[in-house]
Amino acid sequence: MKAIPLSYIARNLWVRRVTTLLTAGGMALVVFVFATVLMMSEGIRATLVATGQADNMLVLRKGAGAEINSGVSRGQAAIIESLPGIATDGNGQRLVSKEPVVLNNLPKRSNGKPSNVTLRGTSPLALALRPQVRLIEGRMFRPGTSEIVTGRSIANGFIGTGLGETLRFAQRDWIVVGVFDSGRTGFDSEIWGDAEQMMAAFRRSAYSTIVFRLADQGALPALLAAIDADPRLQIDAKPEIQFYAEQSEALATFIRYLGLFLSLIFSIGAIVGAMITMFAAVAQRIGEIGTLRALGFRRTAVLIAFLAESLLLSLVGGLIGLAAAASMQSVDISTTNFQTFSELAFQFKFTARIAVQTLAFALFMGFVGGFIPAWRAARMKIVDCLREA
């Protein structure tokens, strides 16, 4: 079947450019909300998924779910440390980090309002276990001292956490001797210090988490079997990647659903806008429709032409919205992850998948908004069109 040329469709949009822009602008806003929400959800997920290392295993008390709920006694820690299949570093030292994790309520630089920051006690081994972490300012804390290092996002966002500054908690002054960057992972939102010093200051006798590196993946089944077989080890051991992915689930899903719900409601507004515009376009061009039909273009060609006009309109809106959303990539955002109850910094993450979904959503709005007007245009009788023109 022969189609009405695209130039006819595009130029009609151009001729009514103010109307086109207003309609596309409305759609662009909807698309922007839609895309940024997906980007936010993706950003949270990407940040937390990247936090885990492929060969690392993370141990929590059975059923704890989150690090702050967990407790692993020193005795249990010693058993875990001696499990088979754990990798060693160049000096023959087993790559195991026994970490107390607590939350500290710190005021933000921006408004002084307090938020919970994850405080992790660890050892220099932590750097071997988490190669993505590198110091960008200062140096690593010295074991056995009240020195701490802070993640990039924390140093920027919270009072008293910059290099050279001091934090007071648990009856001690803690000096920030370094700022580290963990390559946009969850560690950027943490403060690290010496594990034993923290346990002493906080009067803790149990660790929260044990992290260790597997010598190779093949060692995993035997290791899990060993844990199961030991009644003293009431613990859950899971790959670090899986653990952090689970930590992102609730917040990412919440934001995603909230956003999709909002976009859906907003899209009604945008669809109505497209419908009004397309009804007006059809009404204005009744004579043209009649002429095209008289020349031999079929009803379907007319239907497709007007539908294409609406789709093109929505594509313009979609691209504007998408461009605006893409520009959000450089924006840092942080909020409390209500699964861990602590601050998490992340970025809007733009992916090809999001771009496709967003444009599909825009085109969907154009289709729904344009179909009834286009259907009406195609259903009119030629003689009626020519008479009304």
């Binding site: 704890a64 309520n105 907003f266 009604i268």
Partner: protein, 385 residues
């Protein structure tokens, strides 16, 4: 009243377009109202607080506990009328999806500090006598269909094991702002369980709830309490119950700011749609407006016509949207259940909805009206053909 009649007639001349525009407005005004109500609901925890209650927590963060022996010392502070304590339990009812707060509290003193929880005397007595007992708010009981006497199993995340409680009472809130989505049980039960396991936190509590005699003295009393424990192992931080609740709200501030921004985005969207409608209307009526001017009507008359028509449509849609918000909010509150303990459309929200409709109507007409007031008669009339 000639102008008003003309306005109404004009507004509904293009019935389909006007209807569609109004549908858009209704959706937008509804969505705007719902989003604002969601934000309000977030703050509801802070709104429902009492100015005669303070909360004392560990200065480091809520995840740190306080020794039980602080209770006596707090009680002796001048201005304090009562002390109770609670621990966050963090249990899971069947699945993680069924989230609701559970607190282990010292029952008699806690209920005394929360007079807004209206509990029948018999149920209260039964609760106080049963260490395995629990009480819940009406909303929570309705959500899961619990009746007094039911067994409620919770799987502990912070405190391992499965805990089964007997429901002894259901409280009603004294007004709509009262939280009816919580569960309370005996702190002693938790403490004994911890002691049996040899846990170090057996004689520790999460927070102290402190009743005071005079709301104005809150800052002073807070300072007195915190001074008591300065330089101890567990330093305290005492704030009003409202400030304590706002602390939670501010943690989700980024999300709140986003929701708030988005609630205005929808108004901008509908403004674009409405402006488009008014522009089309103006373009179609070019000849009519030119005729009116030719007849001797001043340019201001044409402007008035367009503004009036735009406002008639915007207010029509806006008011319908406002009316629709109420049942929608009720349905939404029902659907999300205890996630938002309090979900009420406030007067402020309704005023904002009205203001938004008027603004949309006025701004949408601005540009077309300005253009129409400037058309010259000859050019306008030529459009008749």
């Amino acid at each position: 009243m000639f102008v008003l009649k003309l306005l109404l007639k004009n507004a509904f001349r293009h019935r389909l377009r006007t209807l569609l525009t109004m549908v858009g407005l209704i959706v937008a005004v509804c969505a705007f109202g719902l989003l604002r109500t969601i934000i309000d609901a977030w703050y509801a925890g802070a709104e429902g607080t009492s100015s005669t209650r303070l909360v004392t927590r560990n200065a480091i963060s809520l995840t740190f506990v306080l020794p039980l022996n602080y209770a006596d010392r707090v009680r002796r502070v001048e201005g304090v009328t009562g002390v109770s304590w609670s621990n966050w339990f963090g249990g899971v009812y069947i699945t993680e999806r069924n989230f609701f707060p559970q607190f282990a509290v010292e029952p008699a003193s806690y209920l005394a500090l929360y007079p807004e929880y209206i509990l029948p005397e018999a149920e209260k007595k039964a609760f106080l006598l049963d260490r395995q007992g629990a009480v819940v708010g009406r909303k929570l009981a309705n959500q899961y269909g619990w009746k007094v006497g039911d067994q409620i199993p919770l799987r502990g995340t912070i405190f391992p094991g499965t805990w089964t409680f007997t429901l002894r009472g259901i409280w009603d809130g004294v007004d709509a702002r009262t939280d009816e989505a919580q569960m309370l049980f005996h702190w002693k039960l938790l403490s004994e369980n911890l002691r049996a396991r040899g846990g170090q936190n057996a004689d520790h509590v999460g927070v102290y709830i402190v009743g005071i005699d005079e709301p104005n003295n809150a800052p002073l009393i807070s300072q007195r309490i915190d001074a008591q424990f300065k330089n101890s192992l567990a330093e305290t931080l005492t704030e009003t119950e409202k400030a304590f609740q706002l602390g939670f709200v501010s943690m989700s501030e980024a999300i709140l700011v986003a929701v708030n921004a988005v609630s205005y985005v929808i108004i901008v969207i509908i403004m674009a749609v409405m402006a488009n409608t008014m522009m089309m209307t103006a373009r179609e009526r070019l000849a009519e407006y030119a005729t009116l001017k030719a007849l001797g009507f001043p340019p201001a008359f044409v402007v008035k016509l367009l503004f009036g028509e735009s406002l008639v449509i915007a207010l029509g849609g806006g008011i319908l949207g406002m009316l629709l918000t109420l049942p929608l909010a009720a349905a939404f509150a029902k659907a999300v259940g205890t996630l938002f303990p309090v979900f009420v459309v406030s007067d402020t929200t309704m005023l904002l909805q009205l203001a938004a409709s008027v603004t949309v109507g006025a701004i949408a007409a601005a540009w077309p009206a300005w253009k129409m007031s400037r058309i010259d008669i000859v050019n306008g009339l030529r459009h008749v053909g």
